[in-house]
């Protein structure tokens, strides 16, 4: 398995943080998955050697955690929250809308590899469900007509530019550059 020098440097850094090498397992898996999209058999062997454990120690981890993949998701991965608080606000419908518009069923990757959808358990943002995470950004209140619009924008790769949907992350106050004061939108309500 070939890894970029950037990933290799990060792996060295991460492994050094722990009193015991094996502790770095999940963090190394995340770094490799970020680069490769999934953890192949080759990756398992590589990690085992790097952390000086047996491959089975890595397999037991890889096969347990929902967010570790043996095959890559689509280029854009959409996670929809399934759990009760979001379901009470319509997440099953939202998931269905996304499936229809993006042309791919939950748990699968579209034929062209562009999109994949995953119905996930509680994403810890339940006050503003249905919650949808696109790649690494969290969108709130994606329901009803908004969900249709959202799916449309997603399909056209224009979600980022649309002012109607600001992710939780983008809604945070921007960090200061030393003394320059920055203003902040919102007070927990939209």
């Amino acid at each position: 398995m070939e890894l970029s020098t950037d990933t290799l440097t990060k792996i060295d850094e991460v492994v050094a943080r722990y009193p015991e090498k094996q502790s770095a397992t999940l963090m190394v898996i995340h770094l490799i998955q970020d680069e490769k999209g999934c953890i192949s058999d080759g990756a398992v062997e590589w990690i085992a050697e790097r952390l000086e454990v047996e491959p089975v120690n890595i397999y037991e981890v890889v096969t347990f955690y929902p967010m570790i993949r043996r095959e890559p998701w689509g280029k854009t991965h959409v996670r929809v929250c399934r759990t009760l608080p979001c379901a009470l606000r319509g997440s099953y419908k939202t998931c269905r809308t996304l499936e229809e518009k993006l042309g791919v069923k939950e748990g699968h990757v579209s034929e062209d590899g562009d999109f994949s959808i995953e119905f996930m358990e509680c994403l810890a943002d339940c006050g503003k469900g249905p919650v949808v995470i696109v790649d690494e950004k969290t969108y709130e209140d994606v329901q009803g007509e908004a969900a249709e619009k959202f799916a449309e924008l997603l399909k056209n790769h224009t979600l980022d530019k649309d002012r109607n949907f600001t992710s939780y992350e983008d809604g945070l106050a921007k960090p200061r550059k030393k003394t320059v004061a920055s203003s902040k939108k919102g007070t927990g309500k939209k």
Binding site: E60, R82, A87, L88, Y92, A124, G188
Partner: protein
């Protein structure tokens, strides 16, 4: 009587205009002053303050933090570790997220004070992987703090050193359970460990004494130091000191997170006054008061009994005080502070089926009653929703749940059993009616297309 006002201590700045999550901003607001004070005090004095404050853990069990710290095995001579539980995985809970994303330095300061107090060799933050940006924010904040000598080597010249490492999970709920978390941190499957002997304070990570505390708990330590344990103990009510961040979700007009003194308001005031009540034309059906694992409360139930001090209580659902002990007195718990509200439009069987799908998905599979039982409970409630169940299925459901409770390695067993036990006991008619529905014609899309609400 007017409803109490929010008392934001932990969330004082999180949503304040102009407040950002960087170090300069935190320092402008008095940040790290308490760490400066801490490293000049004796560690045991800080532990004593935490004990005297009466602060209870905000992660779910409500165990007194000072007491937990006292249980640390200091005789073994092994290094001590501090772990911040930032897994925030209990459905209905979204409070730790606000601290991590908006005020990370408060957490780091709380952690460094706590680490110094227990003389930890190293500290970890176990953060759920879905908080992608949250982990980056913490990494950046730790780097900023290190550059100013606020964590890492020789903190503020005190001679005490402690690194904080951010460790990301990978989407498993069981990593919120402290011993599962520890296994995960060691790079293994997060199979919870059996207690005894594996109490983390004695045999935690790397078989060393370890303290695991929730994000909100560790932030409280800073405020205990700032106010003093007496003043902190004055907040809230006896045995329920300080504030709590409640997370309200589900069918209210204005869901959200709110910080109140413990016991400052009732569940009814929270729903009707703070959260703007139910949606127009709707009435209250049920509330789960402490995350999905807590037992459900029915809107028209009466809750009666005797408090520890000998006084009697007779409450309707809206009278239940929001603190640690109130929901327990009502037969449930305040757990992680996640209040899930359901109105009369909710199909209660579908709600339970939704919850059961969660637990079936999240069981680690170590204990037979939990692994098999959670799958059976999902199967039975799903069958009730898709039609074709039998009338006696509701009793079967309860018997499965009863065989999980008390027979497992970790408290996930109870967490999985309580919803079923309470939903069926309190809404039995609806379960029987649902089970008696005829099976639908073959649906081309099959059960996977089933809508659990």
């Amino acid at each position: 009587m007017a409803v109490a006002k929010e008392k934001r201590i932990i969330l004082k700045y999180a949503d304040a205009r102009g407040y950002s999550n960087d170090l300069p901003c935190y320092l402008e607001h008095g940040g790290y002053d308490m760490l400066k004070k801490a490293v000049k005090s004796k560690p045991e004095d800080i532990c004593e303050e935490v004990l005297k404050s009466g602060v209870r853990g905000r992660g779910g069990a409500g165990f007194p933090t000072g007491m937990k710290w006292k249980f640390l095995d200091r005789k073994s001579g092994k290094p001590i570790y501090l772990i911040c539980n930032a897994d925030e995985s209990e459905p209905g809970t979204f409070k730790d997220r606000q601290i991590i994303y908006k005020d990370p330095h408060q957490l780091i300061e709380g952690m460094m004070i706590s680490a110094y107090a227990i003389q930890a060799k190293q500290a970890f933050i176990y953060i759920r992987a879905e908080f992608f940006e949250g982990a980056r924010i913490l990494d950046r904040a730790i780097a900023e703090a290190k550059a100013k000598n606020l964590c890492g080597d020789n903190i503020l010249g005190s001679g005490y050193s402690c690194e904080i490492v951010v460790h990301r999970g990978a989407g498993a709920y069981i990593c919120g359970e402290e011993t599962g978390l520890i296994e995960s941190l060691e790079g293994k499957r997060p199979n919870p460990r059996i207690k005894p002997p594996y109490f983390p304070a004695v045999l935690g990570v790397y078989q060393c004494p370890t303290i695991v505390n929730n994000v909100e708990t560790l932030c409280n330590v800073k405020h205990i130091l700032e106010m003093g344990s007496d003043a902190f103990g004055q907040l809230g009510i006896p045995n329920n000191t300080g504030t709590r961040i409640w997370c309200v979700s589900g069918q209210v007009q204005k869901p959200g997170y709110f910080e109140f003194e413990c016991g400052a308001l009732t569940l009814g005031e929270m729903i009707y006054d703070v959260c703007g009540g139910l949606n127009p034309g709707r009435s209250l059906k049920a509330v789960i008061p402490g995350g999905s694992s807590a037992k459900v409360l029915r809107a028209d139930e009466r809750f009666t009994g005797t408090h520890k001090d000998g006084t009697d209580f007779d409450w309707g659902i809206t009278d239940i005080p929001l603190d640690f002990d109130g929901p327990i007195a009502a037969g449930s718990m305040s757990g992680s502070g996640g209040i899930i509200v359901m109105d009369d439009s909710v199909d209660i069987v579908e709600a339970l089926a939704n919850i059961n799908a969660f637990y079936a998905h999240e069981s680690c599979g170590q204990c037979t009653p939990c692994r098999e039982g959670s799958l059976w409970m999902r199967k039975i409630t799903t069958r009730m929703c898709s039609g074709g169940a039998r009338e006696e299925d509701s009793d079967l459901l309860v018997s499965v749940a009863d065989q999980i409770e008390g027979r497992t390695i970790c408290a996930f067993g109870e967490a999985a059993a309580w919803p079923t036990q309470s939903f069926v006991a309190k809404f039995k008619d609806e379960f029987i009616a649902k089970a008696n529905q005829p099976a639908p014609d073959d649906d081309a899309e099959g059960p996977a297309r089933l809508q659990l609400i």
